[in-house]
Symmetry: C2
Subunit: 258 residues, 2 copies
Amino acid sequence: MSGHVRAVQRALAILKAFSLENPQLSCSELSRKLKIHPSTIHRLLLTMEKEKIIDRLENGKYALGLKVFELGCIAAAQRELVKVARPYLEELHRISGETVNLVIMDGTEAIYLDKCENPMSMVQYARIGKRIPLYCSAVGKALLTGFHQEDLQRALNSIKIIPHTPNTIIDVGKLMEAVQMAKINGYAIDNEEVELGIKCIGAPVKRESGHVIAAISICGPVSRLSGGRFFELVHQVKTTAEKVSNRMGYCSLNALSL
Amino acid sequence: MSGHVRAVQRALAILKAFSLENPQLSCSELSRKLKIHPSTIHRLLLTMEKEKIIDRLENGKYALGLKVFELGCIAAAQRELVKVARPYLEELHRISGETVNLVIMDGTEAIYLDKCENPMSMVQYARIGKRIPLYCSAVGKALLTGFHQEDLQRALNSIKIIPHTPNTIIDVGKLMEAVQMAKINGYAIDNEEVELGIKCIGAPVKRESGHVIAAISICGPVSRLSGGRFFELVHQVKTTAEKVSNRMGYCSLNALSL
DNA sequence: ATTATTATTTCGCTCTGTGAAATAACCGCT
DNA sequence: AGCGGTTATTTCACAGAGCGAAATAATAAT
């Protein structure tokens, strides 16, 4: 019938139980969290450890293994989008000097696929593989511009909105407006809505169908993303997103008339 | 008795079948490659697709999914070594201006855990998650310095040595010598043994036990890694590796007498 | 030392995952 | 179109794989 091999489902559930906040777990923790008999957890862990998918640490706990890391790199490398976008991200980073991100939507969040940042920078704005809410980030809003009115409505209603800063837009109506504006302008902003002091400019990447498949953004301290420079950066981000869109097979009227 | 849940083993075998060279595979390809009945492959793929571990592409083939990417990032982030080494790699990159790598041993190869390179550089020397042979790379030899004579002998004999360039050392005796030298000097070199025109300098990272757990290297075109600058870079790589070793809990007499 | 918690092994029973086979979809040919 | 060949997908009855209760061993907590 449909896909359900219990042992595998459970093994995957174990893998997914690990997170950035909780990168190492013991047998019993997993057992409790997943409501699976410790004996079974143990057996599955052994199986995965043998395959280097799971590491057992000195402290007896378990963690994601080297093979997961390796597979993750392959998963990233195989994504056409990453390959295509990379040089454009680098160019945008070079001309802007700011941290540049590439994200895609996954469920009700966005996930960082790639980034370029000054390796000597003191702050790290994002981390590849991390997730970020759609409703308060520039990339998130840029992604949401791909939705039609009703879908957007539905999507925003199904998301639990948590205020991260005083600036976070928590009103669905205002959010819809913001996305609407982003759609018209071709870019979205995050005005210290995720973190105070940090501003972002995001623009959507589209496929030939016009379907939004990703978003590109610039992030930085408010001081550097304001005044005349702000509009300059907006232009750069939009241009970059358009270039990647074209390479992914999207031709807007804009692009044609350039 | 020990870890063997067949369904899981097979699911993992499927995941491992994907590689950089072969990032997308069809049901039947997998079936042939792994000698597993197509029906079973299909069922396992469905199970994993449901969990976003596997993606089904437009062309009907399968690829590693977004979740694998995400888990891979967690696997990387959880490694203490990566966290500890990162700032030192960046410092080395800053002072040297060259591409810097961090690798660990895995089986009979080394695997890139992290790197710092000029994002505007034209060439990409390595890719995180990629593997590189022990016998011809600087990092490889640096890692091999952790072995005792007999283990080294055994290790080198069990590896199939493939000449990558005319400079690749294919004679086990000469290799042993090279590793011996590296052990004495505290650094290893790759003198265009992997790729013509590219030179590397590698140094081992050790734990408190003195056990070699990783290696750090600098890579670049021959022209930039020669003359007086070469020895300067050797010093920088060694110093960096020592700093990371210390942070990982290794105190050499050298380090104490600094 | 005593208890509580966790990790690991054993083992009999059941229900799961398996693979042969059937069916359907999809090529590339002529 | 129609026809062979490959591949994807579904069905189903059976074997034996994986499950979990329970027992045991190893740790941690007090």
